[in-house]
């Protein structure tokens, strides 16, 4: 039951959407997985809800990546995603509810960064490029810097996330996502996405690690990733890097878990995600 009154618009074009989104008190509605719950709980009280469902171009995928309104279910069936197991397929596999898969969108997930959402961490690790469009035209930003920023800094007035591009994996690379879900909400108590690229000699040439569940934004475990670069992708080095994964993190204590357990999970799941990413990289499963 939604108690508070608000205006509702479902524009048919992006131009109309920018204009509506720029109004004071406007919020964007994509799949509604976060917003509808917040409306029910009266946690937000917008003056206007701008529903993006009628903008067909947002459901299409092109050069700039997946359209923002592509659902998780459609994403999971996309040949570019299913080509090889990755952090993205792991994350989509972990979200099993058909209702959620049919409603939730990649753009909504990445733009909103609900605490414990999987895809922002995956976008971080995979170096996703996010297209943000507004009255002044499109701009492309890296996931790192976007999903790690506070909500108010992510989008300018009238701006909308319109596409998310996940770079195609290069030979010798691999990624994986590990998650311990909140048994009630399904969001991650802790989720770790890791990607690596290895040289022919098994040396780590690139690594990125994204953490979900650590707070109101996704967190880049840049120091952990950096500590691996230039070293052989061995179990010993992975364990060393993962052991420091929680260093310096400010982790929350809430109903789902205490902070020290989240720190422990960050280390454990970082090691697991890195190990699987490396295995995929060496086995050629990009």
């Amino acid at each position: 039951m939604i108690a508070a009154a608000y205006d509702y618009e479902a524009p048919g074009t992006l131009d109309d959407a920018y204009e509506l989104a720029a109004q004071a008190g406007a919020v964007l509605l994509a799949g509604g997985q976060s917003l509808i719950t917040e409306l029910k709980r009266a946690a937000v009280s917008p003056r206007l809800v701008v529903d993006l469902r009628r903008i067909e171009s947002l459901r299409a995928s092109g050069d700039d990546g997946f359209g923002a309104m592509v659902t998780l279910d459609a994403l999971a069936a996309d040949p570019r995603v299913t080509a090889a197991p990755s952090a993205l397929t792991d994350a989509l596999e972990a979200i099993r509810d058909p209702q959620v898969r049919n409603r939730a969108t990649i753009g909504g997930s990445v733009a909103l960064v609900h605490q414990g959402a999987d895809l922002p961490a995956v976008a971080l690790a995979l170096g996703a490029l996010i297209t943000i469009t507004g009255p002044a035209g499109p701009r492309v930003v890296e996931a790192a810097g976007f999903v790690t920023a506070p909500a108010r800094e992510r989008l300018g007035q009238g701006e909308i996330v319109t596409a998310v591009r996940v770079p195609a994996p290069v030979p010798g690379s691999g990624s994986a996502y590990e998650k311990l879900p909140n048994p009630a909400s399904g969001y991650a108590i802790c989720g770790v996405a890791a990607s690596v690229a290895l040289s022919a000699e098994g040396k780590v040439e690139h690594a990125a690690v994204g953490l979900a569940g650590a707070g109101p934004t996704a967190v880049s475990l840049a120091a952990t990733a950096q500590s691996l670069i230039g070293r052989q992708a061995t179990e010993e080095h992975v364990a060393e890097a993962a052991a420091a994964a929680a260093d310096g993190l400010q982790l929350p204590t809430d109903l789902a878990a205490p902070a020290d357990y989240r720190a422990h999970l960050s280390r454990v799941l970082t090691a697991r995600a890195l190990r699987r990413a490396i295995r995929r990289a060496t086995e050629g499963a990009h």
């Binding site: 311990l180 048994p183 009630a184 109903l255 878990a257 799941l269």
Partner: protein
Amino acid sequence: MLGVPYNKVRIIAPAIGSSLGSKGYIFADGPLMLWIARELGRPIKWVDTRSGNARSTPHGRDHVAEAVLAGTRDGRIESISVKSYSNLGAYPVINAPGTPRTLFGQSITGAYDIEHPFFEVDAALTNTVQVGPIRGSGRSEAIFVIERMIDMYAREIGMDPADVRRLNMVSADQMPFENRLGWVYDSGDYVSALDRALEMVGYADVAAQREEARSRGKRLGVGIGSYVAVAGVGPSAKMGQQGLVSGTWGSAHMAVEPSGEVVVTTGAQPHGQSQQTTFAQIAADELGVPMEMVKVRHSDTAGSLYYGQASYGSRSLSVEGVAVQLAAQQIKDKARKHAAHLFQCDEEAVVYGEGKVYASFAPDQAVMTLQQVAFTLWLAWDLAPGMDPGLEARSFFDPPEFNYPFGSHVAVVEVDEETGQVDLVRYVAVNDFGTVVNPGVVDAQTHGNIGLGVGQALLEEVVHDEDGALLTDSYSTYPLIRATQLPDFELDRTETPTPNNPLGAKGAGDVSNPAVAPAVVNAVCDALGIDHIEMPLRPDRVWRAMTAEVAAA
């Protein structure tokens, strides 16, 4: 209520989406809505929210129990003493103290012959949401205590917990057995149900599985939960002695239409227990007519029943179902009397069988179907002196005693050594519900009981903040068990009829829940090699227990 006379009120309780204990009460909202409707002079619709429901209907369990068990070094339990603090919350439900006092207190001996049982219960009024009965009420809390104590005792004396159970279980030749706290166990071979469960799980081969699990970073544990649960509410006088101001008998009305169809009106209130099916089976079986001919009506105060007592506490089949059987027997008696009149013979010479009445001396000539009997009784053109028209019956059944279903469950868990996540990998349950009318129905009830128990053991927890505000008021904060977290259940039954009703049926609805949580917690304690851990076994708590164990070593 609101000064409206009783005979001007009609209540229809349609499919209410289960009850599990929480819907047996009047809450403030209901009368308030009636009052508003009258003030406005028009019908109103009232829709509760999930969070509203979580704040206004009873929560379950919430006992803090301190228990001491004493026994010999060779495994013979001599006494159990339990001091329990039971939270009733604010504005307790009407029979709130019954759960801790009677269903909990008197059940603490479980399936065992314990010479000196003792319990003391403090019921506390607090500022939380009210706490009331939920599936397994009282018995689940009691069986949890005794089953955990058995495992701790076994660990203390270095005996296998299965052996401790075998040694102390009430044996079949002790029946009827008074548990020294007021329950009189009726029938059953508790050890054989336990042995069957252990055989199914392969208890002897567990050691090898442990090593295999270790190689995968998992700690494997096996836990047993054995139970006896009082059911079949109930003998009215005994319920009265417990303080309940209500009869608790069962009743049924049965009519055979002139067209031959049978209409049963039951005092049970089906809300997921399938009495529409099982009671039709009982009537069809007794009358010898196809089940499709029987329609079961219920849950409407404008029906032909004097008073429906509803469904709760695993009572429907063994109390209300028996009333259906008795009503069918009355129908058969009247059919035979009427046939004797038409056949012009003694009633003793008329036999009822396979949906027909016939004279034993001329079964092919003097024969009528039940439909023909009902039709001629409806016409009433030729009735014996004193015979009323129509074919209907009204029956009551007030059982002489409760009944006592029992069984043993075995849970196999794997605990992730790093995260503390508990996976339930196997679940074996051997139950004895006495005579079973419909195996599919009792298996489905068992599935529900296991799911609820696993949820209690692993996930469910109501949390209030320090100001008394409820924090877990939605399904995004209050976890329920999901099918993906449960293995395929491996079920079997032994079948020992109760002598306390003519069907031989015992309760089945909520009685197998008590075994579940202790089986799961015993399995986790076994996996971790620890004495005890408090529910729910969330991964962070299990991790902490493992960390403490490492620190101690």
